[in-house]
Symmetry: C2
Subunit: 659 residues, 2 copies
């Protein structure tokens, strides 16, 4: 009595990748419809099943398809755009501005198609995605015939596909409802990360995922800074924080988990959460190396992900599995940890478990969907083949095989590639379309990077309101007469302040670019203590508007912004050709003099030690007003006993660079 | 006026990889004979040169061939044989025993041919090798047409190709003299590593290399243990030690350098030594990660090597370059370190400098040999192509390109591969020949691993002399009467000793395998202090020879060996199914009693707390002698007042495991 099968893959090295790592050599796999009927020794399967299509796989491995547990597939279109940068510069300086400008349903569809072609060739049969317009990812993936968890991103900021988080949440729910019974796509929701969401978003997405029993996909503890900030802002590390916000009510897939401790691992384990380990991305962005040996020891479901192709820069799971095995050894100092068979399990069975889809895929077991790959391990670069130990074949696959050794790929019982020929997608025009996008993105960035100002605008930092000032500055030897005059009669003091200021000026090779100043302003209170620190970025325009005889200056234009990123960020983003640091102590008054409002700055420039300076300034709005104020300013200077030969028209940075 | 060229590669993205990273897009390269005439902008080159063979390289990169700065190419034949093991278990438990058995000129030739095919396909044009029968490596490499530094290994131990270091040194000198003017091969000498050589070998090899002005190739500071041992044995780290032994009289190529400090980097730099960074191998064997960012900063010539294919497990320089870039970021926490262009420089220009062959290769500059590759960066997995920044193309090559993207390879002006077809070697039979070796090696290891004893013999540890003993052991309550009898008249004490012994017994699932004992013997002197520690391995045979009525035992056979490796080594090598630890205090006498020599052991078993035991033993050589001694032993027991109901025939380990 033989049962009928649609396909019989026979004479293969069959690796079931089940929990016992059963393997059959020679083995066979019988497939009917979308599912596996049986996997076992060749003779046994051949006796039990018959099929019109019997495929001889001599010298080849038949195993479950690889599972890419974390990626952002449309980002194929941004691959190689900006590398060797810090996470924040890469993300906020390049990825986000470009995404704001270019991400559309069409962009997402094209990027997904490219990624699907690439992943099929690399032996991937399932992946977990997170992006914008996620329904387009789902459509393109289903058309090609791959399996995926497609997670619609929700963020507290406006995104390319939504003006508010409520909008993207509603879109996610709609998407989930319409796709939840699809044979290939598992729709999902992705609160992007704890630090880009709010408590409310975490709770709402968890509720949504729990209600529809779909996975929730997020980034967790990718960088040390994220954990530090969580401790500071929430009083606890990342995992306890998201737990507090009910995240584990849902079936969680947590990408990265680079910086979590044993207690947090136990929490993840207790709640059945899966982890997506992304070694290439974590190394490339210098985020660190996740403690996967420990996680696996505790029984966590740890899969392997490529992360998006803009931070990897490929979707090659063979490279990723190999690196997962190597890196674990390197960071623990134990070459026996994460042996080849374990690394391959992470990319198959454990990945499916991490994605909460192990009921349907991840191993070659009867009843599971037929998601499998045929790998030729006979090429010269994988020679010779040892048989002494059952682990030899895992070694071959993990340490020596390449994605180019994949010959055939089947998902859900359907061939997506046979003998290296793709069968479900016409990819002839994809490269041309991608290059068109690249051309437009290149032009956008070239234009943006032509000027420091447009780079500043691109990161959403600058308030473009210009300000014009009448200004006169003199060098003084002795500040005491000035202080006496200010404290005496003749002017009305509106308020006074005391600051200690650290300024870093970025200078550029082309002076027409202007100067960018990063200022750390320490506010000193009456007790002489620092009571507040403010970080500001000022773009100092290159040209002066006018200069009067009296050495009073109608100042250059300025663009002001709170400096929300670090000095380091701005340095790496703007790449100045020179930096000048100036530290000074500043006493500042707002006063009324002859009916006109002025700011008086009494500065002691400490580093470099330039001595004392007195500055008198007033905002202005017209040339006539400026001329009037210039005269009053001159009087004010006299009143402050600060007539000097050294009237200056220069900024401190100019005094320093010219000296 | 145009000059004649043999080949004109035109319309390419030409990356010269010279010090200024000049690139030309569209560019062209003109080649005549074995050398590059010019590389530059397409129009300029096309106007200056003419050739009958003009090759259009549109969409492809033309760049210097990759340089594999450290490998052991014949080890392709051992690829995947034993992975996920510690360095010592891997090396001394597997590689060296197999090499002792199988390495021959034929083995070396075949392994080299396989490696050459693989390396050409991976875009390697030059490599630095270190193995046995190195002349066979040189011959096979020259036949295929690759360029190599071929280093004959010299060790203080016998090797597969020499009984003594004098022999291999003489062979090296002979090899060097005959090959030193070869157009492709640079013969070299390789003192394997400081810890496997002697001062004399280091000095002699350095002198040889200096005399013939050829490079000296060695392994330096690969593991932390090596450095620790050097500090203990030589009173200094590895680099000062080899410097003291004149190593830097030669042009040194130092592989690994994982554990060197800034001072040692300065020494390497001062002496113009090159470093071969092997990231995959160092991670896989958990040796660590070399501080390449710091080395590069100091101006060291750091190349990249795959290391041997038995510890990698491939010869894929694209994987290695990518990993070098990623790992440096991961370990420094700085994602901007070792950017793509630097990583690719390491695999080209800097590699050639590290191998002391930068006069002839490593960049596309006029006058250098024509060693170049053509890489197709247009496949979908490397889409799209950005042009905004000159570094974009290095990103594509390092982070997204694969070795399968190499279309053509030229060395010394000769094509070795064109459009992915090899042109200089027939590789049709290599896989079959390699599998034949694998089959024999499998059989050898299967046979060896059938018995614990043969595994012990394989690592060269055991002295196979068996010993037979007459033995009687009793449990006693009170040691005092025994001590009185020993110190009283009636026997002659020849010597006495005091030991504290820690025994670890390895038990195996199959009892017929016997028991392996690892003993740490602390010798306690008259003052009660530990004056010496001895480590011994004893293989306790599974069967007893005979047992007499008087409970005197003709003991089982034993194989003794000094335990030169660590307990951890033996544990991982023998993989026992169970371990038993026994700690005891032992007083031991050699005595003459009734004219017969006996050993008396008075033991206090402390862990587990089994109490006191008295053992009487004598060596024997015949059944008759044994019978006689058994009677005397019984008398001796009575003399020692130790008649007891609990006469034992068991070893302590048996008492413990049965209780």
């Amino acid at each position: 009595m033989t049962e009928k099968a649609d396909f019989l893959l026979t004479n293969a090295i069959v690796l079931t990748m089940d929990e016992e790592l059963n393997q059959y050599d020679p083995g066979a796999v019988a497939i009917s419809g979308d599912s596996i009927l049986a996997a076992g020794p060749k003779d046994e399967i051949n006796q039990s099943f018959q099929s019109e299509e019997v495929i001889d796989c001599e010298g080849k491995v038949v195993m479950p398809g690889l599972i890419n547990a974390h990626t952002h597939v449309p980002m194929t279109l941004l691959r190689g755009l900006a590398d060797d940068l810090r996470l924040d510069v890469w993300l906020m300086g390049y990825m986000m501005p470009v995404e704001r400008e270019f991400v559309s349903p069409e962009f997402v569809r094209l990027g997904t198609q490219i990624a699907c072609v690439e992943m099929i060739r690399n032996g991937v049969t399932s992946f977990a995605d997170m992006y914008y317009y996620e329904e387009e990812v789902a459509k393109a993936t289903a058309e090609v015939g791959l399996r995926a968890v497609c997670s619609q991103t929700v963020l507290k900021f406006p995104t390319p596909d939504a003006q508010s988080f409520e909008e993207s949440l509603a879109a996610a729910e709609d998407f989930i409802k319409r796709w939840k019974d699809h044979s290939l796509i598992i729709p999902s929701v992705a609160p992007h990360s704890p630090y880009t969401c709010t408590d409310e978003i975490l709770r709402a997405t968890a509720e949504l995922a729990a209600e529809h029993e779909i996975p929730l996909h997020t980034h967790i503890a990718e960088t040390e800074v994220e954990v530090e900030n969580s401790r500071n802002d929430n009083g606890m590390p990342v995992i306890p924080y998201v737990k507090k916000n009910n995240l584990f009510d849902a079936k969680v897939l947590a990408a990265h988990c680079v910086h979590i401790d044993i207690g947090e691992m136990h929490t993840l384990h207790h709640h059945g959460a899966g982890v997506a380990h992304c070694p290439s991305s974590n190394l490339k962005l210098a985020s660190g190396a996740a403690p996967v040996s420990k996680m696996l020891e505790l029984g966590l479901n740890v899969g392997i992900g490529t992360d998006g192709p803009a931070s990897n820069n490929d979707l090659d799971m063979f490279e990723e599995v190999r690196l997962a095995a190597l890196l674990a050894k390197g960071i623990t100092g134990d070459p026996t940890t994460v042996p080849a068979a374990t690394a391959l399990s992470m990319a198959t069975r454990l990945g499916a478990q991490a994605m909460h889809m192990d009921q349907i895929t991840g191993t070659l077991e009867p009843g599971k969907r037929a998601d499998l790959i045929v790998v030729d391990i006979s090429p010269l670069h994988n020679t010779p083949r040892f048989h002494r130990d059952e682990v030899n074949v895992y070694s071959q696959l993990v340490y020596a095989a390449k994605s180019s050794d994949i010959s055939s790929v089947m998902v859900n019982g359907r061939w997506l590639m046979r003998d290296q020929e793709l069968t479900t997608i016409d990819h002839s025009d994809l490269i041309r379309q991608a290059d068109e996008y690249a051309h437009r993105i290149d032009a956008f960035l070239v234009d943006r990077e032509k000027s420091v100002l447009s780079k500043l605008v691109a990161i959403g930092g600058a308030m473009e309101g210009e300000s014009f000032e009448v200004q006169v500055k003199v060098r003084i030897q002795d500040p005491d007469p000035v202080l006496e005059a200010i404290n005496g009669p003749g002017l009305e003091r509106l308020y006074d302040r005391h600051y200690h200021e650290y300024d870093v000026y970025f200078l550029f090779a082309d002076p027409a670019q202007g100067i960018l100043r990063y200022r750390e302003d320490e506010y000193i209170d009456e007790n002489g203590e620092i009571s507040n620190v403010r970080y500001r970025l000022t773009m100092i325009g290159p040209t002066r508007e006018a200069q009067f005889e009296s050495d009073v200056l109608l100042s250059r234009s300025r663009y002001l912004a709170p400096a929300t990123h670090s000095l380091r960020f701005y340095r790496e983003y703007f790449v100045p050709s020179k930096e000048v640091i100036i530290e000074k102590d500043r006493l500042r008054w707002r006063v009324l003099f002859q009916g006109t409002e002025f700011y008086i700055n009494l500065d002691r420039v400490e580093d470099p030690a330039l001595g004392h300076f007195l500055e008198v300034k007033s905002r202005t709005w017209s040339r006539r007003d400026a001329e009037h104020k210039a005269l009053v300013a001159k009087d004010l200077m006299e009143f402050l006993s600060a007539q000097s030969q050294e009237t200056l028209t220069q900024d401190y940075v100019e005094i320093v660079t010219k000296s």
